[in-house]
């Protein structure tokens, strides 16, 4: 049976093996149809309502603006409209009330500027007066209003009496706003004694020091830090959420799914490893949905751990913002071997999902690494560059090494680079400049290169690769045929080794011919390592081609006793390619041929 017949037979078998399916239940079909129609009608209604709302809005603006200005005229003389400046004591009735407020004090500020720049404590995530663990974090939310400066530095300090124990700062800008400042107690300077009471100071300072202006407020109650508490404290927070981008898998864009990267900061102490879970949740009246990814983190801390999530596009609006009801979260879970279950370390009281509970332990998620794409480009000097895009998901170790090479024939490395990556999932593009001393004609002659990428994770090596045809290669001349490259994959068999070879053949058949074909044959003849001779047919096949230029691939395999013998056979292999064309009179003529000895 010829190869063509074999493929036809295979295609026919594939069609026959099509799995049978049940028809859609009519009731369900009708129900979905009905719901869709209803939804469409509703959308129309919404559209009309929106138009009506817009029209009404316009009318309100038309009437409202003059009234507003009239009211503004009436209130001239007042420094502020009521409500533009939140009164610190009115902002949040549930916030802890400071037991001792020293008030706003200005230093070096004269006259009317006094008290114009203001700030106020909105809340702290741990109520004042509580005892907190030695490794806890206090998150302080502060409101501010800047009048005399555009920008200021907000400094939050923890003090014990006159001694400053810890401080954190944040630049704030804009007329009015809020800022959250975190005080990780792990950074606390070691105070004496087991118990210590802290105070909170807030300061706003003009950043350019052009005027010495400092206001501060002292909220006295503070907290008690229990220094004897177990240092088994973990924290995790999302410090950044990237803008969504459409998902691309193997160079294919999926327009219904977004990629979003969460950057996580965490602290883990008291445990060797934990599972960092980052994801999103959505719920509305119809139910809930969500998704998450996990990575293993080790004891210590990290402030820039990326976790990439795939989120359905329907959870975003047209502007790429998440719709109402979508929340991102981060958790740290640990496996309690005694109880044989996963427990939540941070925030400490989270309900684990069924998925999280069923994660097998010892937890091992296979690290993933692959080459997404390799595309040719040029650097500023016009030298060829190969941009290699790779993706990884590193979970089993905190770091790994990635090495990527561009290999030409004879394992000649044209370019290489390496870099380290940290745990998490992500992708990176490495531009590899091809050795400028290499004559580009070489690449034009044999324009196939192999990208070989390796990620080394501890003792484990994950490899991937891709073949790329050099685009700057010379076109095959009309009525010519040439070998433009090959791939050889060797593997061990029961009796020795086998080589699977793919030849890439460029051809160009002129329009003088109505159709054509390429025949390929190969023969090898070599002495084997053991001294015996070896010879025979390496393979043979043919392909139909149409007028024009193109690339054809031919595959064949052979088996032999050893690697050395395989190498000898490859060296002695004689490959013959013939390009035939069919003339308009129906005659087949030999148009071009190429013979090559050796696989190099």
């Amino acid at each position: 049976m010829s190869i063509q017949d074999e493929y036809k037979d295979l295609e026919s078998r594939l069609r026959q093996s099509k799995p049978q399916t049940e028809p859609l239940p009519p009731a369900f079909k009708r129900q979905v149809r009905h719901e869709l129609m209803e939804q469409m009608t509703m959308n129309d209604y919404r559209f009309s309502f929106r138009k009506l709302s817009m029209a009404l809005g316009g009318l309100i603006l038309l009437i409202g603006i003059p009234v507003f200005f009239w009211l503004a005229q009436m209130s001239i003389g007042s420094a502020n409209f009521p409500g533009t400046e939140p009164d610190p004591s009115q902002l949040d009735p549930s916030r802890p009330t400071p037991t001792r407020v020293m008030g706003i004090v200005s230093e070096g500020v004269e006259g009317s500027e006094q008290n114009l720049d203001r700030f106020w404590l909105i809340s702290t995530d741990i109520s004042q007066g509580e005892t907190i663990g030695r490794y806890g974090t206090i998150n302080v939310t502060v409101g501010y209003k800047l009048v005399t400066v555009q920008e200021a530095e907000l400094i939050v300090k923890l003090v014990e009496g006159p001694q400053e124990l810890l401080s954190a700062n944040k630049m704030v800008s804009g007329a009015i706003g809020t800022a959250v400042v975190s005080l990780p107690l792990a950074d606390l300077e070691e105070p004496e004694g087991n118990l210590v009471t802290l105070e909170l100071n807030l300061m706003v300072e003009n950043p350019d020091h052009s005027t010495t202006k400092r206001v501060y407020q002292d909220f006295g109650a503070g907290w008690t830090v229990d220094l004897t508490a177990e240092p088994a404290m973990t924290t995790a927070e999302i410090v950044r959420i990237s803008k969504p981008s459409l998902v691309e898998i193997d160079g294919v864009v999926d327009e219904f799914v977004y990629d979003i990267e969460l950057t996580i900061a965490y602290t883990l102490s008291g445990y060797d490893q934990a599972l960092l879970v980052a994801g999103y949740e959505y719920s509305d009246a119809n139910g809930s949905a969500g998704g998450y990814e996990v990575i293993v983190v080790s004891a210590g801390s990290g402030d820039n751990v990326p976790i990439r999530l795939r989120v359905d596009r329907s959870f975003f609006n047209e502007r790429g913002e998440t719709i109402e009801g979508v929340n991102f979260f981060v958790r740290l879970n640990h496996y309690d071997e005694t109880a044989a279950e996963w427990v939540n370390l941070y925030p400490g009281d989270a309900d684990l999902t069924d998925g999280e509970r069923s994660i097998p332990y010892p937890y091992h998620l296979q690290d993933v690494f692959y080459v997404e794409s390799a595309a040719w480009g040029e650097d500023a000097a016009g030298q060829p560059i190969l941009n290699v895009r790779m993706s990884y998901n590193l979970t089993s170790q905190p770091t790994a090494e990635i090495e990527v090479k561009v290999i030409w024939v004879e394992d000649l490395v044209l370019a290489s680079d390496s870099l380290g990556v940290e745990a998490g999932n992500g992708s990176l593009t490495i531009p590899l400049a091809i050795d400028p001393t290499l004559d580009p004609l070489f690449l034009a002659d044999i324009p196939l290169v192999m990208v070989s990428a390796v990620m080394t994770v501890g003792e484990v090596v994950i490899e991937d690769g891709q073949s790329v045809v050099y685009q700057g290669a010379s076109e095959t001349a009309e009525n010519e045929i040439q070998i433009i490259g090959y791939e050889v994959v060797t593997r061990t068999t029961e009796s020795g080794v086998a080589a699977d070879i793919t030849l890439f053949v460029g051809y160009n058949l002129s329009s003088d011919y109505s159709s054509g074909r390429i025949t390929f044959s190969s023969q090898y003849s070599a002495a084997t390592q053991g001294g015996g001779g070896g010879s025979g047919g390496g393979g043979g096949s043919e392909k139909a081609v149409s007028p024009g230029s193109g690339t054809a691939e031919f595959d064949f395999s052979f088996e032999t006793t050893s690697w050395a013998a395989a190498r000898q056979w490859l060296d002695s292999m004689s490959t013959s390619l013939l390009l035939f064309g069919d003339t308009t009179s129906g005659e087949e003529v030999l148009v071009a041929e190429v013979t090559k000895i050796g696989i190099d």
Binding site: E6, Y7, L10, E11, R13, L14, R15, Q16, S17, K18, P19, Q20, T21, E22, P23, L24, P25, F28, K29, V32, R33, E35, L36, M37, Q39, M40, T41, D44, I249, D250, G251, V252, V253, D254, E255, F256, V257, G279, A289, G290, G291, Y292, E293, V294, R310, D312, S314, G355, E356, I359, L365, Q366, V368, Y370, S391, N393, N425, E553, D555
Partner: protein, 185 residues
């Protein structure tokens, strides 16, 4: 059916036109999802979500000379992937929509298990998918290109390579002693 491009254009505002598209494609999409998931209840959910999403995204849809059905396949494919992401959230999600285990489990449900199906289940998902779209769903190269977001020429190359690997796999299977052992796992 009137010219499909016109019908799609009309369906943006006319529920009856959208209903006609629904009636025309719903069974095919259901069969596709059923084949992909092997679960009728899941397939019903996914079909419902597919058409809902199609309705929602219809204003963004651009007619590119390829059937509207190809776009529906594309949405359904995305919904299937999303379904499995939700189910197996802690598995790597990149390009591995269908794990070999799941394919084997799906295959198990098929009444007629033959060696082609076994060979298919052992191919990389990338190959399986292009073969299924071509030979089970009977989509043209252009339609597959729309579903997979690649050119029809690229589809031809992928299809050729997938067939080649399938042929190799079948040859390898023929030498295996216990072929059906895979189903007892």
């Amino acid at each position: 059916m009137e010219n499909e491009a016109q019908l799609v254009q009309r369906a943006r505002h006319d529920p009856q036109a959208f209903a006609a598209l629904y009636d025309h494609y719903v069974e095919r999409i259901y069969a596709y999802v059923q084949r992909e998931t092997g679960d009728r209840a899941v397939a019903q959910d996914i079909v419902s979500a597919t058409f809902e999403k199609a309705l929602k995204n219809l204003p963004r849809y651009e007619w590119r000379g390829v059937s509207f059905g190809a776009w529906l396949y594309k949405i359904a494919r995305s919904e299937i992937a999303l379904h499995y992401r939700r189910q197996k959230r802690f598995l790597p999600l990149v390009g591995r929509f269908l794990s070999p285990q799941r394919v084997e489990a799906t295959v198990q449900q098929w009444e007629q298990v033959d060696e082609v199906q076994i060979a298919l289940s052992r191919l990389p998902e990338r190959d399986r998918e292009v073969l299924r779209l071509s030979f089970f769903e009977e989509l043209s190269h252009e339609e597959i290109g729309e579903v997979l977001n690649c050119s029809s020429r690229n589809v031809a190359v992928r299809l050729h390579r997938a067939l080649k690997r399938l042929r190799k796999q079948l040859a390898k299977q023929a030498q295996e002693v216990v072929v059906y052992d895979v189903y007892s796992r």
